[in-house]
Each structure stands twice: as C-alpha cells, then as structure tokens.
C-alpha cells in the first residue's frame, strides 16, 4: 500500500489552543456588528450583501480574531439578532465549520454539530424558511454536511485510541452521523424540493431555475430548492465514499453535466461534481466518459484559477486539480486516447505525469506500484459506514474501505495488463495472422485468442441504456486465421461547438442592439 496515502483530513491541524483567554460568552464589537448586519441583510433578502459578508467579512474576522479559537457561542450572539431561531442555526453551522477547519473538534462537538444540522434541515424541510441565501453558502452547507459525516466515520473507525468516556458517548448517541440519517436527509431535501420535477419542467420551458441560477425573483425562497439541487451532488459523493458508484451516478442523473447549470455557479460544487463523476466512471471502466469530463474541468481550472486566488477554497481547488490530473493519467494509461484531451491539458499532464505514464504502460511490478500510488493519492476518502461492535476488542478499521477499493482497482488493472502489448502490435499492422502475432508475443495461439477477446471485452462498456459502446482507439476483427486491424477515427463533435457559437453570437448581437448610438 502506498505509504504516502494521507488519511488525515485537511492539512495538519494545529494543536488545540492552550490559550485560556477564550471566553465563549464574550462578543467583541466587530462580531456584534457582523451578526447585526448579516441578520438585517438576510431579513431584507439582500443576496449581494449577504454574499459579501459571508465570503469576505467572515473570513477576515476569522483570520483577525479567531485564528485558533472558536467564534463566540450562539447564546452570546442571540440577543443581537432577536433570538431568531433560524439565524441561530445558520450561525452555529458556520461556527462548527470554522471549528472543523481550524481546530480539532471533540466528540461532543461533532455530536452537537450533527444536532444542529438536524434542526437546520428540519426547518428547511418544513418549509418555514423564507430567506434567499447565496448559492455559495447553500453549497457549503451540503458540502460540509457530507464532509463532517466522512470525518466522523474516520474518527469512529480509529477505535484503538478511544477513551472509555468517548466510547460511552458513541454508544449513547448512536444516531449522530448515522448513515441512514445522513442519506435520508439528503434524499428528503431532493424529494421535498421537487428539484427533479423542476429540472424536468425547465426542459419543457415551463419553469426557470438554471436561468436565474436557482434564485427566486418572485419573492419566494431559494433555500429548499437549491439545497435539494446540491443534495444530488451530495448523494453522489456519499455513494462514492461507500464504493457504490452505480447508485452515485444515478443520483446525479437529473443534472445534465454536459451543460452549464447551477452546479457550475459555485466552483467548489463544479469541481466536486466532476471529480466524483469522473472517479465513478473510472471505477465503472467508462474511461472515455471520465477523460472527457476531466479534460473539460481541468481546462476550465487552468483558465480561471487566477480569479480564485483570494478565495478560502483556493487550496482545495489546487489539491483537487492535482488529484484529477492523477485520475486522468490513470484513465489515459488504461485507455490511451490522447486525442480526446486539449493541448493545454495534455502538456500539463505530460509535465506532471509523463514519465510515470510511460512506466505504467509496462505492466511490471513497478507499473503496478505506480497505479497504486496514483490511485491512493487521488481517490476519495472511503468510509466504513457501520459502527463497530463496542464489546469486541477494539481495532482500527479506518483503512479497510480504502484497502478494498484499491485492491479491486488493481485487480482490474492486472486483468488488463496484456492489452497494452497487443495494442502496440495492432497499431503497426493492417493485417496479421494469429500464428505470427502469437510468435511475436511469445504466447501460444489459444492464449492469444483469449487476449484478443479480453481486449474486445475490456474496451467495450455498457452504457446507461444498455447499449454497447467502444472505447478502443484501435480495433480489429478475426476472419478465420487472419486478424484485420481497423484504426477508429475520433470524430470531433462539431455540432455542440456550432450550437454554442450560435448562442454566443446571438448574445453579442443582442448586446449590440442594446447600445444606443447618438
């Protein structure tokens, strides 16, 4: 197993502050002013100002005043916001998010955070929320919810270091971060928001959702709808963490990722969606689908990353960027269709993984070690969702889920190890007899037949409609004793390109029409 595999979340956590000067009940003036203004903007549905305060002021204050202590407690700020219940849930959600990012949460805090999510989602699901919140914030809620679930599973699985008190708490609060609860909340948000129906109706032109980025300009609230929308991405991610790639992709289905959508309106959501979509397709052997989507998003990140430099997500963006290059390297090693990726992405890829990729083609022990290394570096942080049996001897099982996925992935790589050799020969012949090729490859004829059939089987995948799709760049057929080679041409998809340009041109013409010349 790769020793470089980093199973700890985020970066190195600073040790819990020994600074005893933190008083949860003390509210400094800047915080007072922050909550008062944020509360007012939320009541006035001023999305722009909410977004500014959420993205900028919260970060600035955190950096300046709460670098290694939590924010003031919710009880301390409540009097400044009319003790507004929903605002307090939102504040606590941010409070815990800040704590998770900068400090090590205790078990009690993990449980309290779960409780807060239950309260928050419960009010949203019962439709009593009439706010309009920025997409960034709503995405962060879903994202953090899934992250804290994953973090909890990792934490619980490290049983060896648990104190008796912690185990007693785990037993007592067995519902906290329970996998059924997590999945059912996400599913309930999807169902209650009717988001799948909304997206369907939008296709028929009966509804506007994507066009307004999910916001409601008719006085309604966007909270349930957009949370429901992002929950589909959340479900994809949870299912990937569980190794259930088929179900994950099914949950994402209502979102058409070949188009722009609300998921692309927030960079974090865009990256999370494509990363998990691509990874799931890699595990399903649908390499071409993975390659195409990785290519698109890596190009997008390459072109836009300078605009995110100041964003709190910048480091995460860079990390996912690197991981997706590693996944792309794996996909292209198993399915060498370099024509599918753009020149910029290709040259970045060569720079990062060119040398490793050429060694991965050799399928010796060193090559397997490289597949192992790249997979371990780039895979999601798999979890075991069930609680341990606390009466049995306590062992750590936090690596079990990861080891299983890695093992099955390497198993697949091994099944494909002879294919790259046969591909090399097929590339240089237009036809060759079985006997001759067997001699070149130093195998007997019947083994060669199985290799050729394996090639056919492994380069074909069954798509969602049950149709067989070829991922092969070089194909062949056997007529009696002769192998006839066919180089398949990758046809560029001009259709989509023209469609986009037509829409773009129309936009330019509209803009020009609006300009009034004196």
């Amino acid at each position: 197993m790769a020793s470089s595999y980093d199973y700890d979340d985020h970066q190195q956590q600073p040790p819990p502050s020994s600074d005893t000067s933190y008083d949860p009940n003390y509210v400094p003036d800047p915080v007072k002013s922050f909550v008062v203004h944020l509360y007012r903007h939320i009541r006035e549905k001023n999305v722009y100002e909410i977004h500014q305060m959420y993205e900028t002021s919260f970060q600035t204050l955190s950096d300046r005043m709460f670098k290694d202590t939590p924010w003031p407690s919710v009880d301390a700020i409540a009097p400044y916001v009319d003790n507004d219940q929903v605002f307090c849930f939102l504040y606590r959600e941010m409070w815990f998010r800040h704590l998770y990012a900068r400090l090590q949460p205790t078990l009690k805090q993990r449980i309290d955070s779960w409780d807060n999510y239950c309260n928050l989602f419960q009010v949203v699901l019962h439709g009593v929320v009439n706010m309009q919140l920025p997409n960034q914030w709503l995405w962060d809620m879903v994202d953090e919810f899934v992250y804290q679930f994953q973090s909890f599973c990792q934490y619980r699985a490290k049983m060896k270091s648990k104190t008796e008190q912690e185990i007693a708490l785990l037993r007592q609060f067995s519902q906290a971060w329970n996998v059924y609860g997590v999945l059912n909340f996400l599913q309930a948000l999807v169902d209650k928001s009717m988001i799948i129906e909304i997206l369907e109706r939008e296709k028929e032109g009966l509804e506007r959702f994507t066009a307004t980025d999910g916001y409601d300009y008719d006085g309604g609230s966007n909270v349930l709808k957009v949370l429901g929308y992002f929950s589909m991405v959340g479900l994809l991610r949870v299912h990937c963490l569980l190794g259930d790639y088929h179900t994950g992709l099914k949950c994402l289905c209502p979102i058409d990722i070949s188009q722009q959508g609300v998921y692309t309106s927030v960079i974090g959501s865009h990256i999370t969606t494509i990363y998990h979509f691509g990874f799931a397709n890699l595990m399903l052997r649908r390499y071409v689908d993975g390659i195409l989507e990785f290519n698109k998003i890596l190009l997008y990140i390459y072109k836009t990353k300078q605009y995110h430099q100041k964003s709190p997500q910048y480091e995460q963006i860079l990390k996912k960027n690197e991981q997706m290059y590693a996944l792309l390297a794996i996909c292209l090693s198993l399915c060498p269709q370099v024509k599918l990726i753009e020149e910029t992405v290709n040259s970045q890829l060569r720079e990062k993984y060119g040398e490793k990729m050429s060694r991965m083609q050799r399928y010796d022990d060193e090559a397997f070690a490289l597949y192992d290394e790249l997979f371990s570096y780039a895979c999601p942080k798999f979890i075991t969702p069930s609680a341990p049996n606390y009466d049995e001897p306590l062992v750590n099982y936090n690596q079990d889920a990861y080891r299983l996925q890695l093992k099955l992935f390497l198993y697949e790589v091994k099944q494909q190890q002879l294919l790259s050799g046969v591909r090399t020969f097929l590339k240089v012949y237009s036809s060759i007899s079985l006997g001759k090729l067997a001699a070149y490859m130093e195998v007997d004829e019947s083994t060669l037949r199985t290799i050729l059939m394996t090639y056919k089987h492994k380069t074909r995948v069954v798509d969602n409609d049950g149709k067989l799709i070829s991922n092969a760049d070089v194909d062949f057929y056997i007529d009696e004793e002769m192998i006839h080679v066919v180089e398949s041409k990758v046809s560029k998809r001009y259709g989509d390109y023209f469609l986009r340009q037509i829409v773009k041109l129309e936009g330019v013409i509209n803009d020009m029409d609006r300009i009034k010349l004196d």
């Binding site: 609860g181 259930d244 069930s386 089987h457 057929y477 046809s491």
Partner: protein
C-alpha cells in the same frame, strides 16, 4: 430524522413491488426482508434487478450483523450471469473484504476473473468443480454461454468450431444440435474451413464488421437544438 418521510403504513406496503420500494425508500432498513425475498424470487423466476440487489448489499454494508451470506452468494451469481455488464465488480465494491475471503466467494471471484479475461476453458473446468454453489441458480449455464457468444461475435467474423466448442462448453452431437438451432434462428452460417474442420460465420455487428458502424458521433440530441429555436425563429 429525515427517515420519517419514507415510512409507510404496513398494509399499504404490501401493494408495492420490490422495485418500487427501492425507488421510493432507497435508505430504509425496514425494506430488507422484502428485498431478500425478491432476490430469491429473481433466482426462481429467472429475472434480474441490479438496483434492488445493490440496495440489499448497501443495507448489509450499513448493518453487517444482518448480512446473509446465502443471499450475497445468490446476488453474485446473478451478477456473473449479467456479463458483459460490470455488475459483479459493482457488487464486490460493497462487500467487506473479510466476507470476500470465504471459500464460496473466493471461488466466484476466480470464475469472474476467467470470464473477464475470456478464458472460457478454465472457466468451465472450475465451474464443474463447484456445481453445488452454482446449480442453485437456474439458467446459469445458458447465461454464461450467451456471454461467451457475445464476446466471440465481437471478435470473429468466422470462428473455428473448436474455439466455439471450448467457449460454450458443448461438444459433439449436442454441438451439432445447438448449431442447427442457431442456423435456423440466429442467422449463423456453417462452412467447411481450410483443413481445420468446420467454420462458423457469426452474425454481423458493428464490432466484427467495423464498416457497419454508423457515424453517430455527431448526432445532436433534439433537446440541445431546441435551445436555439428562439434564435432561429
């Protein structure tokens, strides 16, 4: 918890099919017994539902103490029968490693390996050794035979009789009968090979006759075109 949304009164539940249960309550532990029955029903009636079976494995993953290895084995055998679809791997991704170490599952994994790498001879030898596991599921042999024929027809325009015989594990008179049936029903053609015995021409498809491949790569779905209707209008 969010689970309440999915609970339904007992008597009402009876009227739901297993597939509907999965679609409506994918994360409800209470549907497990119904789904386990449904696995047995699939075995008996020779039907198949990947989604329902993945749901069973998911519930086992959430509550390992409820796992029935007999049901897991049946799901895995059904998944082998679904080849060339990748269902067997999809199932393995959800089954804990210590369970996969059990003898019967190790055997099934070996069988899957032979099928994935098209080593049909070895597959049939191994399958013969573990009949007791496989014969519980009717239709197993036929399902694997049709997978073998599927792979052969991706690869060959004309396949030697001996290669076919090994892949589907039928020989002699039974093979003659099988071939007659395929000639009559599936458009197979038999001819004399060049000194090497009979040759069988398999039906044409876009993979063994690449010229048949339609250039479908640049088809644009109607819903994409509808986006420019307002502009064209």
């Amino acid at each position: 918890m969010g689970r309440e949304v999915q609970k339904q009164p007992q008597q009402q539940r009876e009227s739901y099919t297993a597939e509907q249960l999965v679609a409506l309550n994918p994360y409800n532990p209470d549907i497990l017994p119904d789904l386990e029955n449904y696995v047995n029903e699939q075995v008996m009636l020779q039907t198949y539902s990947l989604d329902a079976n993945l749901c069973v494995l998911r519930l086992y993953q959430f509550e390992p103490e409820r796992m029935s290895t007999q049901i897991v084995a049946r799901i895995l055998i059904k998944a082998l029968m679904a080849m060339p679809a990748p269902d067997f791997s999809l199932c393995l991704f959800l089954i804990p490693e210590r369970v996969q170490m059990e003898e019967q599952f190790k055997t099934l994994i070996v069988l899957s390996h032979y099928l994935e790498t098209a080593r049909f001879g070895q597959f049939w030898d191994e399958a013969a050794k573990c009949r007791h596991i496989l014969e519980v599921v009717p239709g197993f042999e036929q399902a694997i035979q049709s997978y073998a024929i599927h792979v052969l027809s991706l690869t060959y325009q004309k396949v030697p009789r001996a290669v076919l015989a090994e892949a589907i594990n039928i020989e002699g008179l039974s093979l003659d009968k099988f071939l007659d049936h395929q000639v009559a029903n599936s458009g197979w053609i038999l001819e004399k090979g060049h000194g090497r015995g009979q040759l069988i021409t398999l039906p044409k498809n876009e993979f063994n006759h690449p010229e048949l491949k339609k250039n479908s790569a640049d088809n644009i779905p109607l819903e994409h075109i509808t986006r420019i209707f307002p502009i064209l209008g």
